[in-house]
Symmetry: C2
Subunit: 388 residues, 2 copies
């Protein structure tokens, strides 16, 4: 019912929105694209038009005046059903949270160099940081009388439909949805603007600290259930495996659906093979982002320009928010010394690694975190640049 | 007042309890000791008498009939003061939680091989897993009228006193203390037995998922405050630093006090240099533990017997508890193939690495996580054994 009539009669791709020319597609249909990563470290809040786009299906066309969010409490306590119009959601108390959203496949293109993986070949730009505003899901669930329960899940469905008319779907634990510190939003604004069509207009659920795939766009249905979403993307995708698991031996039912993401970082500037001028003191400047899931704050980013013999602690730009609720990313800047030998060979490799508030660190290399879907690619980011 | 009169007149060490002969001391005064790690993987709940002991000061002698817990609400809302007797704490609703407690310096002896660090030379045995029972701190704080507040802390003081009569102290964020899923206990039982003197008799605060140092023993005072504990152990110890930070450059005020611990694992059996028989199928069996802080469940433990060319997923023994509230450790078992060449050289090196529910992984080596205090030593555990 949410899909527009035109799509039924025409190609499902005929209603795709216009995109910014700087977004580099990793696939056209469905549309997936990331910005040049040098742009990411320039602004703490990623401009909406450069924010990476991850669509699994054609973009639906929803009208706010027809929009309806269905809520169902299938399991546990609470009122069984509720429908909320767009106006009713906007009439609820408005909350804002700064949260980075990251694709489970961010940096897959680096992992695939170890051994090929299946999936879109993302660089380090499948992430963005925005201020999201909307109603709190915990307020809506409490109004319904939903009570904490460790075995329940909250399923989200989008208006984006697969060729058999099944919606995109995902789920999160009820404990995350009900936690006021979880900051889950029924968001209608991104950086103080209405959501664009590519980002879920009119309503997207924002699940801070959780892999992008659970932040369902074009949200039309919420179900409190005793099981996870049975969607392809919850059950047979976005899960991690041992490096020795291959497509002959993989059993998706045995692995945990990714929720909270591990600590990661990337060098946004200089970019690989960029020509960089060494300053009068013999230093170059690097910038980038760092982030960890689960509301864990980045507490340190270390950079090296000599293969890890000496590490330099970066300056951080981040919000002053407590651990467990620090959902935004951190931007970092570091000045790195260049040796006489590096000046002579006109080449240096920079490495970045971040530490989060649980003192988790990134793994050094992709070899031992390799997985057949190429997700969770959070090894040290290593960038070779030319010196001039 | 909590310290017994004898200590004032005599050596503060004259009242130390008797310890089990199998505990290997890393220091005698204060007493610090760990069990042989092969014993750790034998039982899911570590027997009390083998549980590692980490004392910072002499063990105080407290009598339950004189015991008094002082509570003070210095900052935020709530009744200003309350005193609870041991009988009053026991009269509160009793809760139990399985939680591993791990010393911040566990496995320091491995990190120190890269470059010397300051601290007790712990092996991989400064951890144990127990069922703790007591009153919930969140219930007590709610009774006092304490309200959630992101900027407040809960300070704990013990009856163990330094030579200037200052107590051992530590603090945690109020958000952890108030969260029912945080499972913080005023514990009086360990594996269904009254706490022993070495483990905090009569009351120890159990802060599941949090470094051992915050699980204050011989608890006598709780303060809700607008600052962390000003104790040495909160301010100038138990913090992480970059590998390039040395004692000339270190600034403890700039680093985060360790709370939630990062993912780790250890091979308990076989032990280093142990002689191991290869079975008829050409395999050996390894066992160990894995754990992550913050209530994150262990989702996988990978073992290799060929330097990471092939990884074998271990069988896990763990409680069936939800993520975010999975505070106990996981024991694991794996059968590992031995190559013809390894049989010939009669030698093999085993590596273990664990993955937690946020898909954080262990770093491969100690070199790039080295820190001057030798804490957070969670690199892959590597054990060389002899084959027979
Ligand atoms: Mo994604
Ligand atoms: Mo410790």
């Amino acid at each position: 019912e949410a899909a527009p009539v035109e799509v039924e009669h025409d190609s499902p791709w005929s209603q795709e929105p216009k995109r910014h020319a700087l977004l580099k597609p990793t696939s056209e249909r469905p549309f997936n694209a990331e910005p040049p990563i040098a742009m990411l470290s320039e602004k703490f809040l990623t401009p909406n038009e450069y924010f990476y786009v991850r669509n699994h299906l054609p973009v639906p066309t929803l009208q706010p005046e027809d929009y309806e969010l269905e809520l169902e409490v299938e399991a546990g306590e609470g009122q069984k059903k509720l429908k909320l119009s767009f106006a009713e959601i906007k009439a609820l108390p408005k909350h804002s949270v700064t949260a980075a959203i990251m694709c489970g496949g961010n940096r897959r293109s680096e992992m695939t160099k170890v051994k090929p993986v299946k999936g879109l070949s993302w660089g380090a730009g499948a992430v963005g940081n925005a201020k999201w505003s909307g109603a709190r899901l915990c307020d809506v669930l409490r109004q319904l009388g939903v009570q904490p329960h460790e075995q329940l899940h909250v399923i989200f469905e989008g208006a984006d439909l697969d060729p058999t008319s099944h919606p995109y779907g995902a789920s999160i634990p009820l404990s995350k949805a009900l936690d006021p510190r979880g900051d889950v939003l029924l968001a209608y604004e991104m950086n103080d603007q209405p959501l664009s069509r590519d980002h879920g207009f009119p309503i997207r659920v924002i699940v801070p600290g959780t892999v992008g795939a659970r932040n369902v766009k074009w949200l039309t249905r919420i179900i409190v259930a005793d099981h996870e979403s049975d969607s392809h993307w919850q059950q047979n995708d976005y899960k991690g495996f041992s490096p020795s698991t291959d497509w002959d031996t993989v059993d998706f039912s045995k692995s945990l659906a990714i929720q909270s993401m591990p600590v990661t970082s990337a060098i946004c500037s200089p970019m690989p093979e960029e020509h960089v001028k060494v300053d009068g003191d013999g230093f170059i400047t690097a910038r980038g982002y760092a982030w960890s899931g689960g509301g864990r704050r980045i507490v340190r980013v270390d950079l090296t320009s000599d293969g890890g013999k000496t590490w330099h602690v970066a300056e951080l730009e981040q919000e002053d928010l407590p651990d467990g609720r620090h959902y935004g990313w951190s931007l970092w800047t570091a000045r790195l010394p260049i040796s006489a030998e590096q000046r002579q060979t006109q080449s240096v490799e920079l490495w970045a690694k971040a530490v989060d508030s649980a003192y988790n660190v990134q793994p050094e290399a992709f070899e031992h975190i390799w997985n057949l879907r190429g997700v969770l690619a959070n090894a040290y980011h290593k960038v070779k640049v030319k010196l001039v």
